[in-house]
Amino acid sequence: MPQFLEFLRFELKLRAKSPSTYVYFLMWFAFSFFCVASESFGPVGNSNGKVLLNGPYANTLNFTLAGLFGVIVVAAIFGTSALRDFQRDTFQIVFTKPVGRLAYLGGRWTGSFITTVFAFSGLLAGTWLGTFAPWADRTRIGPNHLAFYLQPFLTITVVQIFYLGALFFAVAALTRRIVVVYVQGVALFMAYLVGLTAFSATRSLEHFWSGILDPVGLLMVDRVTRYWTVVERNARLLPLDLSGYSPGVFLYNRLLWLAVGVLALVVVVVRFPFSVEALAARTQGRRAARQRELDAAEGASRRDRPATLPEVHPVYGAATTLAQYRSLTRLRLRTILRDVPFWALVGLLVVFAINNGHFAGRVGGVNVWPVTYLMLSAVEGAAMLFFLIVAALYAAELLWRERDVRFDGIHDALPMPEWVDWSARFTAIVLVEAMLLAITLLVGVFMQALDGFHRFEIAHYLKELYLVAFPQVIGFALFAMFVQSLVSNKFVGHAIVIGVFVLQSVLFNFGWENTLYLPGAVPAFTYSDMNGYGHFVPALAGALVYWTAVFAFLGIVSIAYARRGPEESLAARTRAALARAPRLAPAAGACLAVAAGVGGWYYYNAHVLNEYLTANDRRRIAADYERAFKRYENLPQPKITAVDVSVDLDPPHRSFHGSGSFTLVNKADAPIAEIHLTDAHQTVSNVRFDRPARLVSRAARDIYSIYRLDTPLAPGESVRLRFDVAHVTRGFTDGQEPAEFAGNGTFFDMEWFPVIGYDANLEIDDPRRRREQGLGDLEDMAPRGDAVHSRINLFTTQSDWISYHTVVSTTTDQIPVAPGYPLRDWTANGRHYVEYGMGPTPILDFFAYLSARYAVKRATADGPEGPISLEVYYDPAHPYNVDEMLEASRDGLAYFQSVYSPYQFRQYRILEFPRYRTFAQSFPNTVPFSEGIGFITRLKDPKDVDLTYFVTAHELAHQWWAHQLVGGEVEGSNMMSETLAQYSAYELMQRKHGKDYMRRVLRHFLDRYLRGRAGEVRRERPLALVQREAYVWYEKGGQIMYTLADTIGVDRVNAALHDFLMQYRYANAQGTTEQPYPDTRQLEAALRAHTPPEYQYLIDDGFDRIVLYDNKALSAVAKRRADGKYVVTLEVQARKVQADGNGNERPMPLDDVIEIGVFKGAGDEEVPLDLHRERMTAEHATYTVVVDEKPTRAGIDPYNKLIDRIADDNVVDVTE
């Protein structure tokens, strides 16, 4: 014991003297401090706006994240402790003394443990102090509870220090190799990241073993808290018992890893060779052999020779300079290429790139073709960090090389100019980086080939890697060389380089977004197969050249400051630098001139030609707009009844010019004297009315203008508004290019035209940003039946239904498209014109203009007045799913017409647009569909959710649920389009793939609903009262409707929908006075009318409440009967709770019909033997089912048709 205490005391004393201990502490302190003190820093602050930054969930997540990076700290502390006596060769002294094994190892280990716990306690201090930061957002800081700090710290941080410390200590003590000590922490860190990305990419919903086996805990925390609502996240700690939605995962995980730690300690105590003899043995192996050889060489015969040397004739000149440069470059290159850590980094790079490349063909859980931009972003994304690490690491290694190996005395007195020596070091880094890029390229191509994709775009690879990534990496290397030339210590240099690198993204988050002063920054850009690098090229090239020139200048400064001789003081080195300056000045001047020239040009484009606005500026504009004009929101305005526009698109210049007219009708019951216009994009000019009017008010940026009619517009009277409209792209912006305009793939909508009155769509909806701007909470939508808002169209508040006519032109190589039927198609003045009209069919005031070099594939379907033309306009490089889109359209048209109502148009078109935006949107008979979704999806596995078919069906269904039936601008109305489109797509999918297939679809969408509600920033609403909660109107709504149809019969639901549609479609399409639009009360009534009494509760629960089930199969036992049949006794449990909008739950009485199933076949591939519904009135029930074949699985609600947070425990294995 006294020995143990002596070793412990010694270890602690050493650690207390070491600055690194305090650096670690400060690091954790700063991390957790900013996680609380800033909403723009940590993972919690940046996401959900209602989760407390010092709450139990935030602390748990932050501490776990710290644990991930802490792996390296733990390795450093414990590893060096285990190895200390071997590194300093003191083991011969220690082990020849009567030292106890336990005392020695135990003392060392315990000392390291205490030190590490101290270092990590910076997390507690930082979090706590962060809550007092005066600038912090008080609404996100709750009262400090000791348990919220201590429980995560003890159960996550301390446990992790324990077992990782034990593991690293054991490995270090047993191998006694310094390289192992340094590598093991990094290796585990990297391996964990690889595993994590690999697992996340599979989008597996498995949440038991993945949570338990997770050594660091990020997956575990996600698994346990995945479906926690805000209330739970602010009140609950990870449960150390068997409660919660992932019962026992946390407890088992901790026990498992504690056991691993104990095991590691036992192993090291038992196996540690505790004798000098065993430890000093080095008589074998390659190293010993080499030493013997060398000893022999040293003692070799010494023949005496005459003491003369041959004559040589040194020459100095350009040729020699070149030879020197080459020889030095070879030497530097060899330094890197013979370095073991370098190859370790290359190995990791390849592993990461292969891993990411393997998942390049999976986007959002869907298989897609691994097109080059996806593969590049996968492999380059994985490799970029390594490019930068290699740049920073070897910039330092090469610059400090002579000092590190103490060859500087000889090297510095050699006759070559500093710039030759410097250039050789720089060249070596450049060559090595070029090699790494080539490796990345090869991995990408290889992974594409492996995934069966053979359209290799080497030119695209070369552009992205060598023209975009390479300059950034080289710039970073130059910067690192600059820093390393100035600092007096390599590690200080590394700290500065990393600091500047990290600072960049932090500064960006805090609103410092200017590319011209964020070192090495490039403006945001997106490659698109349709549009290539397109319009991003000038800004990107400008930024790359600008920063390369700036960094090259710093490189030249670094030549001036090149070390030569023992002088270290900055003053002396500055004197030397000034002495060298005259020779370097021309090059430095050239760099500065390029930087100033290109920077000036960039500035002119981004700040002079275009208004430079940061994200915060744009929010301020929106906030000002809301503050100034919200009062006009309910001001009666005339409604648009007709739109006639002609638009000339100029895709090469990303511009358009047009003019048009809106016919406005006063549908209110009082005269209207003022017409208000919102012009969010500054596109509108030359506004005039066909009666005398004058401009009485305008706002900054022309965002809001008020015109007064000399004679007010009487009720029922109409006025024609004429306007010019244009968007002209001038030069480029600093990463703020509107996604709407592209050389190939223009797509913009009615938002770029005048909007009548106040546009609530411009309001900021993120509560965090609203608070920042001093705005109150976002206004709730009006209740159903509201006198004003019931009469306003949900989607197009400025109109009810319109007639639409347009002429659009573009360049001759492109096809211009707008909603409507092509009436005329001609070429004139070198432009391609098409006139589109909608005929007599009224449409929503919802139109868009598209233009691209399209390939077109056509088909037909049957319609009420003859064939319906089906068309897909796609990029020739993306032919993969065109037939599937046509098939889904044809199937959908047939089905929806048979159950809902006739299709109102004669055509249905899908058009691809660049992936700058990723959505599909249903305009009248026209559906723009992003190239990023759908056009490259790939059905690899019959089990995959067929997303192309699904999205196509969903958008098609909107032609009924939106373009025929639209609700008023009140709560709930959104679900009448989205939920019903979702439901329609579900039913179409089921018709194609069958009921069993739907289980996977339901599981996929159930997870999204539950995660959506967990991330709710305001509060969740019941389906019939939904406001802005997309996860409610898509995922929950679809599931509720599907389950209702599955329970009462799809025909009943469809009949109800048909009745509802026929009664309420085209509300307000006729007449000049406003009637209320339908709302969810009428939809519910229609459904109730077709629902048998015993199932009415499904509508109560589904539409009017937030209801969650906890269904679980407890056991299933099968007995074989004499007649060969099996009797299955199934014991199940069902619970039901109702939640409020914040997630507070209370139990509900159970009187529900729930499905019971018995299956054969393996888990996940079950085939039903018996499937029927039972009415459950108590929490527990036992059912007996007789089936013909031997059953393997059985359970309650096996297809997850009910909303249940633990979906996995519904089915269990059948025992005998």
Partner: protein
């Protein structure tokens, strides 16, 4: 070649005065630089080797201002620093070849000839392909000598070159240096007085950055002729007593007894016998005088 050093002064940032108005003239010969640790030898040699600038003073090499034309001087220079390391994972052959290129020996044949000759001269031929980092201290020192002699330097500065060499190697090196030193300027610093006596036509003793004595070793010895007396004393007390009374140059242990050498114009007393003066006596005497000043 003639190296003229005038008024060289250097004070380091930590306050140490390494060179103090030091002036020397070195001709085309081997010049020995003697001095205790910290005397400023290495600072002086680094300054001549263009690695650091003095605060004041000038150095001229055949009229060439060394401080202003460093790169010109480097082309003529062979320098062996007192302490040096080597790159890991590179052989003596490869590194010598690399250094020869840097020193302007770009003709492949000449370079090969020179590198091989040096490897033989320094007896590293057998180990030439072995990684330098695995060399013993002596081998590494020999490598250092080899690289300093690459490319027929006209000015050779070797800082304690014989440290770590065994007597045979030391002899070989000194012979080589003597052969070369007939044509070029060689500055050799050491604390081994014998090195200087055997090799150097001229020498200087420095301490505290100042020259205590400059001249030919023979002249210095002549000045002491007949003035060095020696005696053996048995006890420490006796030795201390002598030190208090007389100008004791040095004392060595010989067979357990102290042999005391004393500087005196005439016999300092009973038991003293005249002894032949050695360069070591010059050295100690100069240092002792300097210490008293």
């Amino acid at each position: 070649m003639a190296l003229v050093i005038k008024g060289l002064s250097k004070t380091y940032p930590n306050g140490v005065r390494a060179l103090d108005d030091l002036s020397l003239t070195v001709g085309n010969h081997l010049f020995g630089l003697l001095g205790p640790n910290g005397a400023g030898k290495s600072s002086l040699m680094r300054t001549i080797a263009t690695l650091q600038d003095p605060d004041a003073g000038s150095i001229e090499l055949d009229g060439l201002d060394v401080l202003a034309n460093k790169n010109e001087v480097r082309k003529l220079l062979g320098y062996l620093p007192q302490e040096f390391g080597v790159y890991p994972k590179i052989s003596a052959l490869d590194l010598l070849d690399h250094l020869a290129v840097l020193k302007g020996v770009t003709a492949r044949g000449e370079r090969k000839e020179m590198v091989e000759a040096l490897l033989h001269q320094t007896n590293l031929w057998e180990a030439r392909k072995k990684a330098l980092a695995t060399y013993s201290g002596g081998m590494r020192q020999r490598f250092g000598i080899a690289q300093a002699l690459l490319a027929n330097p006209k000015l050779i500065i070797v800082d304690e070159p014989t440290a770590g060499l065994d007597p045979a190697e030391r002899n070989r090196f000194l012979n080589l240096l003597a052969a070369i030193g007939r044509r070029v300027t060689v500055i050799l610093s050491t604390h081994i007085v014998d090195d200087v006596r055997e090799l150097c036509p001229r020498m200087a003793i420095i301490a505290s950055g100042r020259v205590l004595l400059e001249g030919a070793p023979a002249d210095a010895l002549a000045a002491l002729e007949g003035r060095i007396w020696s005696r053996v004393v048995a006890s420490d007390a006796e030795l201390e007593a002598l030190k208090a009374e007389l100008d004791v140059v040095s004392s060595h242990l010989v067979g357990g007894e102290h042999e005391v050498r004393v500087f005196a114009q005439g016999s300092p007393g009973a038991g003293f016998a005249p002894a032949p003066a050695g360069l070591e006596d010059v050295y100690f005497l100069e240092l002792a005088r300097h210490g008293r000043r």
